[in-house]
């Protein structure tokens, strides 16, 4: 099936552009527990009331994830086609 092989190669080449990023996914997942721990500890050191700590921790966690996601997207965009 040479046609299919050609298509497969084309797809692989296309996704090969983002392969370095995809290969990093395994490491990237470690960001979640790390960001969670940092958010909780930082918020706990700022406030005393449990509900306040938790609400601030959730907010900080989302902020970290969104910011890191934005950086990831920017790097992916800048490395597109390299």
């Amino acid at each position: 099936m040479p046609t299919l092989d050609f298509v497969s190669l084309a797809i692989l080449n296309t996704f090969g552009l983002i392969q370095p990023v995809y290969a990093q996914i395994g490491v990237t997942w470690y960001l979640l527990p790390l960001a969670l721990a940092i958010s909780l500890v930082y918020s706990a050191s700022r406030y005393e009331l449990p509900e306040r700590i938790l609400s601030r921790a959730v907010r900080l966690f989302i902020t970290i994830i969104v910011c890191m996601g934005a950086v990831l997207a920017l790097l992916w965009f800048l490395s597109y086609g390299l």
């Binding site: 790390l34 721990a37 909780l40 500890v41 700022r46 005393e48 009331l49 449990p50």
Partner: protein, 311 residues
């Protein structure tokens, strides 16, 4: 660092002796808060900081926390270990393990330094290279018996392997000068083993067989002990960026414990968390209120304020 709002109101927990609190908070993340009766914070700090620290250690195969001075002097301290030491007691064994590691008697055992017969379990591979190596070799599990064998001025070993190769029972004779058993005290729970296999009369003269593997290292000899360069190369080669990430985890845990330490001594940095609501209820511009918040007012006696805690 504490706000005016927090400074103007008493601490709703048992402050206790600040030296004791500081010591406990430094030694074990969350223990200072537990001593003060701040259960939730103790749980948050201990789970998050120790989880990050030991998670990093596990990710790096328990060879991420060690104290190995670059200049060989045990008094100096590397920046990496300084960051890890902030976690407290969990990183302190590394300091003592370094003293044991640098002991002259703690060295690799080679054919020339082997003085008495030794016997130890091994798990590894039989590696064959050269002509006639096809079909020879494989995974081996068993026991190695090695004894020194002085041949003139040359130092060699002799012995045998007993166990299984590729799941089949096997006994292999050992001989030659190529022998290595890694030092007893060192990073990692495996001691590297390498041993040459004796030649048999029917094998090709250029066929070389070597047993390569590892034998378990005891917990007390491995935990937070410095790894030798071979182990570090092996870890960096196999784990790559995961090993670096594991180091980062342990450093971040140390830095997070600084926040916990600070909180145990001086209280929360921004206040208790209900200052805005209290200010709205009182209708004044000042967020300061008197007395602890209603949620925690009855939990602990009031004994100190931040302004009195700097002594």
């Amino acid at each position: 660092m504490t706000t005016a709002a927090a400074e103007s109101r008493p601490m709703p927990w048992k402050q206790g002796n600040l030296w004791v609190v500081g010591l406990l908070a430094f030694l074990v993340p969350g223990l200072g808060h537990l001593y003060q009766g701040r259960i939730l914070k103790a749980a948050i700090y201990s789970v998050c900081i120790l989880g990050t620290f030991f998670g990093g250690m596990q990710m790096g195969e328990w060879v991420t926390v060690y104290h190995l001075p670059q200049d060989g002097k045990s008094g100096s301290i590397s920046l990496s270990y300084a960051g890890q030491l902030l976690v407290g007691a969990c990183a302190m064994p590394a300091w003592f393990q370094t003293q044991r590691y640098l002991d002259p008697q703690n060295s690799d055992i080679l054919a020339g330094t082997l003085t008495d017969p030794i016997r130890f379990p091994i798990r590894g591979e039989l590696i064959a290279t050269g002509p006639g190596s096809d079909g020879v070799g494989g995974t081996l599990v068993g026991e190695l018996e090695v004894a020194p064998n002085r041949v003139g001025f040359a130092s060699e070993i002799t012995g045998k392997f007993t166990g299984t190769v590729n799941g089949k029972p096997a006994e292999i004779k050992l001989a030659g000068s190529d022998f290595l058993l890694a030092r007893p005290i060192g990073g990692g729970f495996d001691r590297e083993v390498r041993c040459s296999v004796a030649r048999s009369s029917d094998q090709h003269q250029h066929l070389v067989q070597v047993i390569q593997g590892s034998t378990p290292r005891s917990w007390i000899n491995a935990f937070e002990a410095p790894p030798d360069p071979r182990k570090l190369n092996d870890l960096n080669g196999r784990l790559g960026k995961y090993y670096e990430l594991a180091l980062v985890f342990t450093w971040i845990a140390g830095l997070l414990n600084v926040l916990a330490f600070w909180d145990a001594l001086l209280g929360p940095a921004y206040g208790f968390g209900d200052e805005l609501e209290s200010a709205k209820q009182s209708g004044s511009n000042s967020p300061a209120v008197s007395g602890p918040p209603p949620e925690i007012a009855g939990s602990q006696p009031v004994v100190a304020t931040p302004s009195t805690m700097t002594a």
